[in-house]
Protein backbone atom coordinates (compact mmCIF):
# COMPACT_ATOMS: atom_id res chain seq x y z
CA UNK A 1 0.00 0.00 0.00
CA UNK A 2 1.44 3.32 -1.04
CA UNK A 3 0.66 6.11 1.39
CA UNK A 4 1.34 9.76 0.73
CA UNK A 5 1.54 12.24 3.59
CA UNK A 6 -2.20 12.98 3.73
CA UNK A 7 -3.15 9.32 3.61
CA UNK A 8 -0.65 8.60 6.36
CA UNK A 9 -2.13 11.38 8.50
CA UNK A 10 -5.64 10.00 7.92
CA UNK A 11 -4.51 6.54 9.01
CA UNK A 12 -2.76 8.01 12.04
CA UNK A 13 -5.87 9.96 13.02
CA UNK A 14 -7.82 6.72 12.94
CA UNK A 15 -5.22 5.03 15.12
CA UNK A 16 -5.10 7.91 17.60
CA UNK A 17 -8.87 8.26 17.66
CA UNK A 18 -8.65 11.93 16.81
CA UNK A 19 -9.23 14.21 13.85
CA UNK A 20 -6.79 14.85 11.01
CA UNK A 21 -5.58 18.20 12.33
CA UNK A 22 -4.59 16.75 15.65
CA UNK A 23 -2.89 13.78 13.98
CA UNK A 24 -1.08 16.13 11.62
CA UNK A 25 0.17 18.21 14.57
CA UNK A 26 1.35 15.07 16.38
CA UNK A 27 3.20 13.92 13.28
CA UNK A 28 4.77 17.33 12.75
CA UNK A 29 6.01 17.51 16.32
CA UNK A 30 7.44 13.98 16.04
CA UNK A 31 9.25 14.84 12.80
CA UNK A 32 10.61 18.01 14.43
CA UNK A 33 11.87 16.03 17.41
CA UNK A 34 13.58 13.44 15.19
CA UNK A 35 15.20 16.04 12.94
CA UNK A 36 16.35 18.16 15.86
CA UNK A 37 17.91 15.25 17.73
CA UNK A 38 19.60 13.91 14.61
CA UNK A 39 20.98 17.34 13.82
CA UNK A 40 22.11 17.86 17.38
CA UNK A 41 23.62 14.53 18.37
CA UNK A 42 24.13 12.87 15.01
CA UNK A 43 21.58 10.13 15.61
CA UNK A 44 18.06 9.64 16.87
CA UNK A 45 16.70 6.32 18.01
CA UNK A 46 13.02 5.51 17.61
CA UNK A 47 11.85 2.39 19.41
CA UNK A 48 10.33 -0.14 17.03
CA UNK A 49 11.46 1.70 13.90
CA UNK A 50 15.22 2.11 14.05
CA UNK A 51 17.92 4.73 14.32
CA UNK A 52 18.19 7.78 12.11
CA UNK A 53 21.82 8.79 11.52
CA UNK A 54 23.35 11.78 9.93
CA UNK A 55 26.04 10.93 7.38
CA UNK A 56 29.16 12.89 6.53
CA UNK A 57 27.59 14.42 3.46
CA UNK A 58 24.73 15.76 5.58
CA UNK A 59 22.04 13.32 4.43
CA UNK A 60 20.10 11.08 6.77
CA UNK A 61 19.96 7.29 6.81
CA UNK A 62 17.85 4.84 8.74
CA UNK A 63 19.22 1.74 10.39
CA UNK A 64 16.06 -0.33 10.79
CA UNK A 65 15.18 -2.00 14.06
CA UNK A 66 16.25 -5.65 13.90
CA UNK A 67 12.89 -7.09 14.86
CA UNK A 68 11.10 -4.91 12.32
CA UNK A 69 13.65 -5.79 9.63
CA UNK A 70 13.14 -9.49 10.35
CA UNK A 71 9.38 -9.18 10.23
CA UNK A 72 9.59 -7.39 6.90
CA UNK A 73 12.00 -10.05 5.64
CA UNK A 74 10.10 -12.97 7.23
CA UNK A 75 9.83 -14.73 3.90
CA UNK A 76 13.58 -15.19 3.61
CA UNK A 77 14.63 -14.91 7.25
CA UNK A 78 16.98 -17.59 8.50
CA UNK A 79 18.32 -18.40 5.06
CA UNK A 80 22.06 -18.70 4.59
CA UNK A 81 24.08 -18.50 1.36
CA UNK A 82 24.33 -21.70 -0.68
CA UNK A 83 27.84 -22.71 -1.64
CA UNK A 84 27.93 -23.43 -5.36
CA UNK A 85 31.62 -24.11 -5.81
CA UNK A 86 34.30 -24.80 -3.17
CA UNK A 87 37.29 -22.51 -2.54
CA UNK A 88 39.93 -22.64 -5.24
CA UNK A 89 42.88 -24.71 -4.01
CA UNK A 90 46.39 -23.65 -4.95
CA UNK A 91 48.10 -26.38 -7.02
CA UNK A 92 51.38 -27.61 -5.53
CA UNK A 93 53.39 -26.54 -8.59
CA UNK A 94 52.33 -22.94 -8.17
CA UNK A 95 53.59 -22.93 -4.60
CA UNK A 96 57.08 -23.61 -5.79
CA UNK A 97 59.11 -20.56 -6.53
CA UNK A 98 60.76 -20.33 -9.89
CA UNK A 99 64.23 -18.80 -10.10
CA UNK A 100 63.03 -15.59 -11.70
CA UNK A 101 60.33 -15.19 -9.14
CA UNK A 102 62.83 -16.01 -6.45
CA UNK A 103 65.05 -13.15 -7.54
CA UNK A 104 62.08 -10.83 -7.44
CA UNK A 105 61.08 -12.15 -4.07
CA UNK A 106 64.59 -11.60 -2.72
CA UNK A 107 64.58 -8.02 -3.91
CA UNK A 108 61.29 -7.32 -2.19
CA UNK A 109 61.70 -5.33 0.97
CA UNK A 110 58.37 -6.04 2.56
CA UNK A 111 58.49 -9.64 3.58
CA UNK A 112 57.45 -11.36 6.74
CA UNK A 113 59.69 -13.61 8.79
CA UNK A 114 58.40 -16.86 7.33
CA UNK A 115 59.04 -15.69 3.82
CA UNK A 116 62.51 -14.57 4.77
CA UNK A 117 63.35 -17.98 6.21
CA UNK A 118 62.06 -19.74 3.12
CA UNK A 119 63.98 -17.43 0.84
CA UNK A 120 67.22 -17.88 2.77
CA UNK A 121 66.84 -21.67 2.67
CA UNK A 122 66.21 -21.57 -1.04
CA UNK A 123 69.19 -19.30 -1.55
CA UNK A 124 71.49 -21.64 0.33
CA UNK A 125 70.20 -24.53 -1.74
CA UNK A 126 70.89 -22.53 -4.88
CA UNK A 127 74.43 -21.81 -3.76
CA UNK A 128 75.00 -25.53 -3.14
CA UNK A 129 73.65 -26.29 -6.59
CA UNK A 130 75.97 -23.77 -8.14
CA UNK A 131 78.96 -25.22 -6.31
CA UNK A 132 78.10 -28.67 -7.58
CA UNK A 133 77.61 -27.51 -11.11
CA UNK A 134 80.97 -25.77 -11.18
CA UNK A 135 82.76 -28.81 -9.75
CA UNK A 136 84.95 -30.82 -12.18
CA UNK A 137 83.49 -34.02 -13.54
CA UNK A 138 79.93 -32.86 -13.44
CA UNK A 139 78.36 -35.10 -16.03
CA UNK A 140 75.15 -33.26 -16.53
CA UNK A 141 76.62 -29.80 -16.89
CA UNK A 142 76.35 -29.68 -20.65
CA UNK A 143 72.98 -31.48 -20.77
CA UNK A 144 71.21 -30.53 -17.55
CA UNK A 145 67.81 -31.77 -18.69
CA UNK A 146 68.60 -34.54 -21.15
CA UNK A 147 70.79 -36.46 -18.75
CA UNK A 148 69.11 -36.06 -15.41
CA UNK A 149 70.22 -39.47 -14.17
CA UNK A 150 73.87 -38.67 -14.69
CA UNK A 151 73.37 -35.59 -12.66
CA UNK A 152 71.83 -37.53 -9.82
CA UNK A 153 74.65 -40.05 -9.80
CA UNK A 154 77.10 -37.23 -9.56
CA UNK A 155 75.20 -35.62 -6.74
CA UNK A 156 75.00 -38.88 -4.88
CA UNK A 157 78.70 -39.49 -5.18
CA UNK A 158 79.49 -36.01 -4.06
CA UNK A 159 77.17 -35.98 -1.10
CA UNK A 160 78.50 -35.89 2.43
CA UNK A 161 75.81 -38.13 3.87
CA UNK A 162 76.81 -40.95 6.16
CA UNK A 163 74.96 -43.73 4.31
CA UNK A 164 77.12 -44.02 1.23
CA UNK A 165 77.41 -47.82 1.11
CA UNK A 166 77.19 -49.29 -2.34
CA UNK A 167 73.81 -50.60 -3.47
CA UNK A 168 72.77 -52.44 -6.62
CA UNK A 169 74.51 -51.45 -9.88
CA UNK A 170 77.16 -49.59 -7.93
CA UNK A 171 74.85 -46.82 -6.78
CA UNK A 172 74.86 -45.86 -3.11
CA UNK A 173 71.64 -46.21 -1.15
CA UNK A 174 71.51 -42.47 -0.79
CA UNK A 175 71.66 -42.01 -4.53
CA UNK A 176 68.72 -44.39 -5.00
CA UNK A 177 66.78 -42.53 -2.33
CA UNK A 178 67.50 -39.26 -4.04
CA UNK A 179 66.42 -40.70 -7.34
CA UNK A 180 62.93 -41.34 -5.99
CA UNK A 181 62.61 -38.09 -4.12
CA UNK A 182 60.06 -35.90 -5.86
CA UNK A 183 61.68 -32.71 -4.52
CA UNK A 184 64.86 -33.60 -6.30
CA UNK A 185 63.31 -33.53 -9.73
CA UNK A 186 63.36 -30.42 -11.82
CA UNK A 187 60.34 -29.19 -13.73
CA UNK A 188 61.05 -31.03 -16.96
CA UNK A 189 61.36 -34.32 -15.11
CA UNK A 190 58.12 -33.70 -13.33
CA UNK A 191 56.44 -33.04 -16.64
CA UNK A 192 57.79 -36.29 -18.07
CA UNK A 193 56.02 -38.21 -15.33
CA UNK A 194 52.99 -35.99 -14.94
CA UNK A 195 51.89 -36.03 -18.58
CA UNK A 196 51.33 -39.81 -18.85
CA UNK A 197 49.73 -39.91 -15.40
CA UNK A 198 47.36 -37.11 -16.36
CA UNK A 199 46.60 -38.81 -19.67
CA UNK A 200 45.81 -42.08 -17.90
CA UNK A 201 43.53 -40.30 -15.47
CA UNK A 202 41.66 -38.57 -18.29
CA UNK A 203 41.23 -41.86 -20.15
CA UNK A 204 39.97 -43.53 -16.98
CA UNK A 205 37.47 -40.73 -16.41
CA UNK A 206 36.27 -40.87 -20.01
CA UNK A 207 35.77 -44.61 -19.78
CA UNK A 208 33.94 -44.23 -16.49
CA UNK A 209 31.56 -41.61 -17.84
CA UNK A 210 31.09 -43.54 -21.06
CA UNK A 211 29.93 -46.69 -19.29
CA UNK A 212 28.07 -44.77 -16.62
CA UNK A 213 26.26 -42.83 -19.33
CA UNK A 214 25.28 -46.06 -21.03
CA UNK A 215 23.86 -47.34 -17.78
CA UNK A 216 21.96 -44.09 -17.19
CA UNK A 217 20.57 -44.04 -20.70
CA UNK A 218 19.27 -47.55 -20.13
CA UNK A 219 17.59 -46.54 -16.90
CA UNK A 220 15.81 -43.58 -18.53
CA UNK A 221 13.96 -45.81 -20.97
CA UNK A 222 11.37 -46.59 -18.33
CA UNK A 223 8.38 -46.05 -20.63
CA UNK A 224 9.66 -48.53 -23.16
CA UNK A 225 9.12 -52.11 -22.09
CA UNK A 226 11.89 -53.27 -24.42
CA UNK A 227 14.40 -52.16 -21.83
CA UNK A 228 14.59 -55.50 -20.05
CA UNK A 229 18.08 -56.32 -21.09
CA UNK A 230 17.99 -59.87 -19.83
CA UNK A 231 15.57 -60.92 -22.57
CA UNK A 232 17.26 -62.89 -25.31
CA UNK A 233 16.29 -61.21 -28.56
CA UNK A 234 15.57 -63.76 -31.28
CA UNK A 235 17.98 -63.44 -34.16
CA UNK A 236 16.20 -63.20 -37.47
CA UNK A 237 17.60 -65.47 -40.12
CA UNK A 238 17.87 -64.55 -43.76
CA UNK A 239 16.56 -67.30 -45.98
CA UNK A 240 16.10 -66.61 -49.72
CA UNK A 241 15.32 -63.01 -49.12
CA UNK A 242 12.46 -63.67 -46.70
CA UNK A 243 12.93 -62.80 -43.10
CA UNK A 244 12.01 -65.61 -40.77
CA UNK A 245 11.51 -64.91 -37.13
CA UNK A 246 12.42 -67.53 -34.63
CA UNK A 247 9.65 -68.63 -32.39
CA UNK A 248 10.16 -67.37 -28.89
CA UNK A 249 10.66 -70.01 -26.26
CA UNK A 250 10.25 -68.63 -22.75
CA UNK A 251 13.18 -69.32 -20.52
CA UNK A 252 12.82 -70.41 -16.89
CA UNK A 253 14.02 -66.94 -15.78
CA UNK A 254 11.04 -65.08 -14.19
CA UNK A 255 11.96 -61.82 -15.91
CA UNK A 256 11.84 -63.56 -19.28
CA UNK A 257 8.44 -64.99 -18.52
CA UNK A 258 6.81 -61.64 -17.91
CA UNK A 259 8.08 -59.88 -20.99
CA UNK A 260 7.70 -61.68 -24.27
CA UNK A 261 10.02 -60.60 -27.06
CA UNK A 262 8.62 -57.93 -29.34
CA UNK A 263 7.24 -59.19 -32.59
CA UNK A 264 9.18 -57.50 -35.32
CA UNK A 265 6.16 -57.32 -37.65
CA UNK A 266 3.75 -55.89 -35.13
CA UNK A 267 4.09 -52.61 -33.31
CA UNK A 268 4.63 -53.51 -29.65
CA UNK A 269 1.80 -52.48 -27.41
CA UNK A 270 2.33 -51.40 -23.80
CA UNK A 271 2.45 -54.46 -21.63
CA UNK A 272 -0.33 -54.29 -19.06
CA UNK A 273 0.53 -57.48 -17.30
CA UNK A 274 0.92 -56.94 -13.57
CA UNK A 275 3.96 -59.19 -13.58
CA UNK A 276 5.95 -56.49 -15.43
CA UNK A 277 5.79 -54.15 -12.46
CA UNK A 278 8.87 -55.49 -10.65
CA UNK A 279 10.99 -54.81 -13.72
CA UNK A 280 9.65 -51.23 -13.89
CA UNK A 281 10.44 -50.71 -10.25
CA UNK A 282 14.00 -51.77 -10.82
CA UNK A 283 14.29 -49.12 -13.53
CA UNK A 284 12.79 -46.40 -11.35
CA UNK A 285 15.28 -47.13 -8.58
CA UNK A 286 18.13 -46.06 -10.80
CA UNK A 287 16.41 -42.90 -12.10
CA UNK A 288 16.51 -40.21 -9.41
CA UNK A 289 13.31 -38.16 -9.23
CA UNK A 290 14.78 -34.84 -10.40
CA UNK A 291 12.63 -32.41 -12.33
CA UNK A 292 9.91 -29.83 -12.00
CA UNK A 293 6.86 -31.97 -12.56
CA UNK A 294 5.77 -35.45 -11.59
CA UNK A 295 4.94 -37.23 -8.37
CA UNK A 296 7.00 -36.42 -5.31
CA UNK A 297 8.13 -39.99 -4.67
CA UNK A 298 11.21 -39.14 -2.68
CA UNK A 299 12.65 -35.98 -1.16
CA UNK A 300 16.30 -35.85 -2.18
CA UNK A 301 18.45 -34.37 0.56
CA UNK A 302 20.99 -32.02 -0.97
CA UNK A 303 18.93 -31.33 -4.07
CA UNK A 304 17.76 -27.83 -4.93
CA UNK A 305 14.17 -26.70 -4.98
CA UNK A 306 12.32 -23.55 -6.00
CA UNK A 307 10.46 -21.98 -3.10
CA UNK A 308 7.28 -20.29 -4.29
CA UNK A 309 5.40 -19.84 -1.01
CA UNK A 310 6.56 -18.82 2.45
CA UNK A 311 3.54 -18.61 4.71
CA UNK A 312 2.82 -18.26 8.41
CA UNK A 313 -0.49 -20.11 8.13
CA UNK A 314 0.04 -23.87 8.13
CA UNK A 315 -3.36 -24.70 6.65
CA UNK A 316 -2.88 -22.21 3.86
CA UNK A 317 0.52 -23.70 3.03
CA UNK A 318 -1.08 -27.17 2.81
CA UNK A 319 -3.73 -25.83 0.45
CA UNK A 320 -1.07 -24.20 -1.72
CA UNK A 321 0.94 -27.43 -1.80
CA UNK A 322 -2.12 -29.43 -2.85
CA UNK A 323 -2.92 -26.85 -5.51
CA UNK A 324 0.60 -27.13 -6.95
CA UNK A 325 0.44 -30.92 -6.86
CA UNK A 326 -2.83 -30.80 -8.76
CA UNK A 327 -1.06 -28.72 -11.37
CA UNK A 328 1.45 -31.56 -11.75
CA UNK A 329 4.38 -30.06 -9.86
CA UNK A 330 6.61 -31.96 -7.46
CA UNK A 331 5.60 -30.00 -4.38
CA UNK A 332 7.31 -30.15 -1.00
CA UNK A 333 6.26 -28.37 2.18
CA UNK A 334 8.32 -27.88 5.30
CA UNK A 335 8.51 -25.57 8.27
CA UNK A 336 11.33 -23.22 9.15
CA UNK A 337 11.95 -21.85 12.62
CA UNK A 338 12.88 -18.18 12.52
CA UNK A 339 14.58 -16.19 15.25
CA UNK A 340 12.03 -15.10 17.81
CA UNK A 341 10.15 -18.40 17.72
CA UNK A 342 8.24 -17.61 14.53
CA UNK A 343 7.43 -20.58 12.31
CA UNK A 344 7.05 -20.16 8.60
CA UNK A 345 5.86 -22.83 6.20
CA UNK A 346 7.62 -22.97 2.86
CA UNK A 347 6.35 -24.67 -0.25
CA UNK A 348 8.87 -25.62 -2.91
CA UNK A 349 8.41 -27.14 -6.33
CA UNK A 350 10.71 -29.44 -8.23
CA UNK A 351 13.94 -31.12 -7.28
CA UNK A 352 17.12 -30.31 -9.15
CA UNK A 353 20.64 -31.55 -9.20
CA UNK A 354 22.22 -28.10 -9.51
CA UNK A 355 21.35 -24.44 -9.11
CA UNK A 356 21.64 -23.89 -12.86
CA UNK A 357 19.08 -26.66 -13.47
CA UNK A 358 16.76 -24.93 -11.02
CA UNK A 359 17.33 -21.57 -12.69
CA UNK A 360 16.44 -23.06 -16.06
CA UNK A 361 13.27 -24.49 -14.55
CA UNK A 362 12.34 -21.07 -13.15
CA UNK A 363 12.15 -19.80 -16.72
CA UNK A 364 9.44 -22.39 -17.42
CA UNK A 365 7.31 -21.32 -14.46
CA UNK A 366 4.19 -19.22 -14.95
CA UNK A 367 3.77 -15.87 -13.26
CA UNK A 368 3.79 -14.95 -10.41
CA UNK A 369 6.15 -17.82 -9.54
CA UNK A 370 8.65 -16.88 -12.23
CA UNK A 371 9.33 -13.46 -10.75
CA UNK A 372 8.70 -14.29 -7.10
CA UNK A 373 10.72 -17.30 -6.02
CA UNK A 374 13.99 -18.35 -4.52
CA UNK A 375 16.15 -21.41 -4.83
CA UNK A 376 17.34 -23.26 -1.76
CA UNK A 377 18.95 -26.57 -0.99
CA UNK A 378 16.89 -29.28 0.67
CA UNK A 379 18.53 -30.18 3.98
Amino acid sequence: MKLNHDEFVALLAKALGSDKNEASRALESWVDAVLLETEKSGSSSVTGLGTFRKTEDGSMILEPDQSLAMEVNHKYAGMSPIEISPPSSVPPESQEVSEDKLQEAVSEETRDDTDQETDSETESEKEKEKEKETAPGFAAKAYPYREPFARRVYEADDSDDEDTSAGPFGFSRQSIKKLFRYDNWDNSEKMIWLIPIAAMLIIALLLFFHFDGQRLSRTHLGDQPVVQNEIPVPIPEEDEGDRVIQEFVPSPDPVDEVAPPPDLDVTPEPVEDAATEPADEVIRDFALPYGLKGPEDEVLIGAYTIVVHSLRNERKSEIEKERLENQGYKATRWSAELPGGITTYRVGIGQFQSVSDAERAVEELPEPFRSNNFIIRIR
Binding site: M1, K2, L3, N4, H5, F8, L11, L12, A15, L16, A26, L27, E28, S29, W30, V31, A33, V34, L35, V46, T47, G48, L49, G50, F52, S59, M60, I61, L62, P64, L68, A69, E71, V72, N73, K75, Y76, M79, S80, P81, I82, E83, I84, S85, P86, P87, S88, V355, F374, I375, I376
Partner: protein, 68 residues
Protein backbone atom coordinates in the same frame (compact mmCIF):
# COMPACT_ATOMS: atom_id res chain seq x y z
CA UNK B 1 5.08 15.32 32.21
CA UNK B 2 1.64 14.94 30.62
CA UNK B 3 2.96 16.47 27.41
CA UNK B 4 5.88 14.03 27.39
CA UNK B 5 3.53 11.08 27.87
CA UNK B 6 1.32 12.29 25.05
CA UNK B 7 4.33 12.63 22.77
CA UNK B 8 5.41 9.11 23.65
CA UNK B 9 1.94 7.80 22.92
CA UNK B 10 1.86 9.65 19.61
CA UNK B 11 5.28 8.30 18.67
CA UNK B 12 4.14 4.79 19.48
CA UNK B 13 1.11 5.17 17.24
CA UNK B 14 3.14 6.74 14.42
CA UNK B 15 5.64 3.89 14.56
CA UNK B 16 2.81 1.33 14.70
CA UNK B 17 1.17 2.77 11.58
CA UNK B 18 4.50 3.04 9.78
CA UNK B 19 5.71 -0.44 10.75
CA UNK B 20 2.34 -1.99 9.92
CA UNK B 21 2.54 -0.51 6.45
CA UNK B 22 6.12 -1.68 5.96
CA UNK B 23 5.25 -5.22 7.05
CA UNK B 24 2.75 -5.27 4.21
CA UNK B 25 5.60 -4.16 1.95
CA UNK B 26 3.96 -0.78 1.57
CA UNK B 27 5.41 2.64 1.09
CA UNK B 28 4.84 5.69 3.30
CA UNK B 29 5.82 9.26 2.66
CA UNK B 30 6.16 11.76 5.50
CA UNK B 31 6.70 15.40 4.66
CA UNK B 32 10.01 16.96 5.77
CA UNK B 33 11.35 13.54 6.80
CA UNK B 34 11.36 11.20 3.83
CA UNK B 35 9.91 8.06 2.31
CA UNK B 36 9.92 4.61 3.89
CA UNK B 37 9.62 1.61 1.62
CA UNK B 38 10.58 -2.05 1.23
CA UNK B 39 12.79 -3.11 -1.63
CA UNK B 40 13.42 -6.64 -2.80
CA UNK B 41 16.91 -7.92 -3.40
CA UNK B 42 17.04 -10.87 -5.78
CA UNK B 43 19.19 -13.85 -4.97
CA UNK B 44 22.49 -13.58 -6.73
CA UNK B 45 25.76 -15.40 -7.14
CA UNK B 46 28.73 -13.89 -5.39
CA UNK B 47 32.39 -14.85 -5.35
CA UNK B 48 34.04 -14.72 -1.96
CA UNK B 49 37.68 -13.73 -1.44
CA UNK B 50 38.72 -17.37 -0.98
CA UNK B 51 37.31 -18.26 -4.39
CA UNK B 52 34.09 -19.82 -3.18
CA UNK B 53 31.03 -19.01 -5.27
CA UNK B 54 27.94 -18.69 -3.16
CA UNK B 55 24.34 -17.99 -3.94
CA UNK B 56 23.17 -15.20 -1.66
CA UNK B 57 19.56 -15.59 -0.55
CA UNK B 58 17.01 -13.01 -1.55
CA UNK B 59 15.90 -10.40 0.97
CA UNK B 60 13.25 -7.77 1.54
CA UNK B 61 14.92 -4.76 3.13
CA UNK B 62 13.60 -1.52 4.57
CA UNK B 63 14.83 1.52 2.70
CA UNK B 64 14.57 5.12 3.73
CA UNK B 65 14.99 8.00 1.29
CA UNK B 66 15.38 11.32 3.08
CA UNK B 67 13.56 14.33 1.77
CA UNK B 68 15.83 16.99 0.34
Amino acid sequence: MVKHMTEKKNEKEIVAVLAGNLKKHGKAQINRLGTFSVSHQKQKQHQEKDGRIVMKPPADIITFTPEK
